[in-house]
Amino acid sequence: MEQKTIGYITGGSLKTGFLVRLTVPADEIQEGGFVVVQSGNYKFYGLITDLRLKASDSRFSEEKNELRLQKDIALLLNAKTLYTELEILPSLMQKVGPEPGTEDYAQYSQSVDSYPIPVKTLPAHHAVVRIANAFDVWEIFGDPKAKAKFTVGLTREQNHPIAIDLEKFIHRSSGIFGATGTGKSYLTRLILAGLIHSKLASVLVFDMHDEYAFGDTSPDTNIRVPGLKEKLGSHVKVCALGRGTDIQRKLRPDFDLVIEQQDILPEDIEMLSRELNLRETTSNTLAALVQSFGEKKWFKTFMELKSGNGEGTLESWAQENRIIPQAAESLQGKLSRVFNKSYILEKAPTNCIQQIIETLQSGCSVVLSFGKYESDLDYLLVTNILTRKIREVWEKRTNDFHGGTGKQPISLVIAIEEAHKLLNREMAGQTSFAMIAREMRKYFVTLLVIDQRPSQIYDEVMSQLGTRISGWLGDDADISAVLSGLAGREALRGMLSRLQPKEEVLLLGYGVPMPLPVRSRRYDENFWKDLLGDQPIHSTMKDAKKDWMFPDE
């Protein structure tokens, strides 16, 4: 096993990290490198978080001694007195086991002793520091080929594959962050593909920009990449908002989503307060409406109440219910944006929401495409209604399961792009999402939050996120948000702001044994070949594929 030694321990503490004197040229080492320190009975695993130029005396660094001394002598002097110091953020330590491959090792690797644990002590002075090799990566991040493991990237120095644990990934809500163009959507596609393929969970994707079902053409490279439906056809159903809506203008979805008027509750409207610029009087008016017409009828009836005066008008209803008529009129006016939505019908031809829920319960995933309904109003309203219904079902299913009257519900992951729209501080109290992030893991539902402005997401939700994957972030507040609640925040800050602008991410949190920056796995045909193998697409699937891809043929 190759062992690239880079230096030795010169100091440090658990709080501030280990200090290392580098014995190789500084440019061979990069921030974020995964290193191993072996000392006594333990191996310590950590990340390079800082590099610093040092001199044993400032006179040696401040004066250009190569100008006044003979060249060879100056070189010797510089090599001896000028050096680079590394700072290492220690994460894990592990008892050193027997040689891999031996019988003793087999026994050891099964025992508790072999588990890496959080760092609790220090390596000795002068302990040798080296770059992690394939075996170290394997010990910490596990076998990327194992079940429930999914490779998300490669180490930056030596291209060792790094896998996340999908079971942990869905066990708590997770987040994918990064400034625009850092590769969030590409990475999400990768991970969702792995997740769907693993059959560990159903996934519901709120696909605001039509990127996930049928793929997408990169504006940067003009290369078209396939979507989840194209590659995982039988495990993914595509649903489009509105009746007869085509996706990307030519592709038919598996089914449509139409929302019935009776599904809309006052809280769905209140959640739109900012969007519709509603007043404080709104909740009073809504409560009165429900009281007068019932939870299922208020929306339709309110929509149809006429203006003017006399019986059956808005004004007379308002007066009867001690509502200021102007308030009622203003609300009705503002709600016209909702009344006019063509995906809201009095009666849907089929119970679409039920269909989505059943599909998800059967272990199949659903991509909900918003198509032309791109406004925040559509996104907020539809995701909230749908999620509320889903939450009710999963809660009931889980209670039945614990009561002994049902099966364990299948795990569900709800992926939301532009999550801050739904999970900002103002909204968090009102939508189902914050609640899911907080406690729905007990009910087998978690979120996959995708966002470029993590600081806009309510901190309470952020702190609940288990696995976090973040690309480059420039804004300090965003960086703080991503790192909130994690150990070693200070050391990791700089690393986030110095990631490559694209296709490099920092893995953090619960789903990974220790933080690590990686080069993102490429999302391309090779990825799909790796995931699916070279198996030919099943013939019936092929037909089905034709059907949805080219409806006119």
Partner: protein, 206 residues
């Protein structure tokens, strides 16, 4: 071994250094920073290694008179330089010793006896002594007082590098400079002075 002739005898000694007298009539001139050895008479295998740190011409009243004269005849000049008995005094810093178990860079356990003879070391003796151990003898040089250490080291290293190269050990000089840098790390001014003297001595590191 190619033994050289003795060139002087011990006049006084302590545990760190000794002073020797030198007769001008002898052929081999002891130079500043030469490595010398002093076999101690009593014990056959015990000899002390040292470094010439100073060469001094003693004054006397007669010399003062001559020097003050308007002109000096050639006769008087050569009579003074060649025939005088002990006109030159050499200071020798001890670097270590050799006994039946080999070299040591510790100070000699016993100083030499008066009138012990002093020999210039041959190249292979120099190479043998200076490549023993890990440059321990350098600390004695770096500690010496009343001597321009930078000059002393520069000349010493240049001569020793020649001896080492002759004995197929050309990496010695690089290691020696590194050792000096290590030892002098905390005295940057002193170190830079030494290193620039090394530059003046034109030491080649090939």
């Amino acid at each position: 071994m190619n033994h050289s002739n003795a060139f002087g005898r011990i006049i006084s000694a302590n545990s760190r250094e000794c002073v020797a007298g030198y007769r001008t009539s002898e052929k081999e001139l002891p130079q500043f920073a030469s490595i010398v050895r002093i076999p101690v008479q009593e014990e056959s295998s015990y000899q002390i290694y040292g470094l010439v740190t100073d060469v001094q011409i003693e004054q006397d009243d007669f010399l003062r008179q001559i020097a003050a004269a308007d002109s000096i005849s050639d006769e008087v000049l050569s009579d003074n330089r060649v025939n005088r008995n002990i006109p030159i005094v050499i200071r020798i810093l001890f670097l270590g010793f050799q006994n039946e178990s080999g070299f040591s860079h510790l100070l000699p356990p016993k100083p030499p006896l008066s009138l012990d003879s002093i020999y210039l070391c041959t190249l292979s003796e120099i190479a043998g002594f200076t490549s023993h151990g890990n440059f321990g003898y350098l600390r004695h040089i770096l500690r010496v007082s009343n001597v321009p250490i930078a000059e002393l080291l520069a000349v010493h290293l240049r001569q020793t590098a020649i001896a080492q190269t002759a004995n197929n050990h050309s990496a010695w000089i690089k290691n020696a400079i590194e050792e000096i840098i290590d030892l002098m790390r905390d005295d940057s001014a002193g170190l830079l002075e030494i290193l620039s003297a090394l530059g003046d001595a034109d030491i080649s590191m090939e």
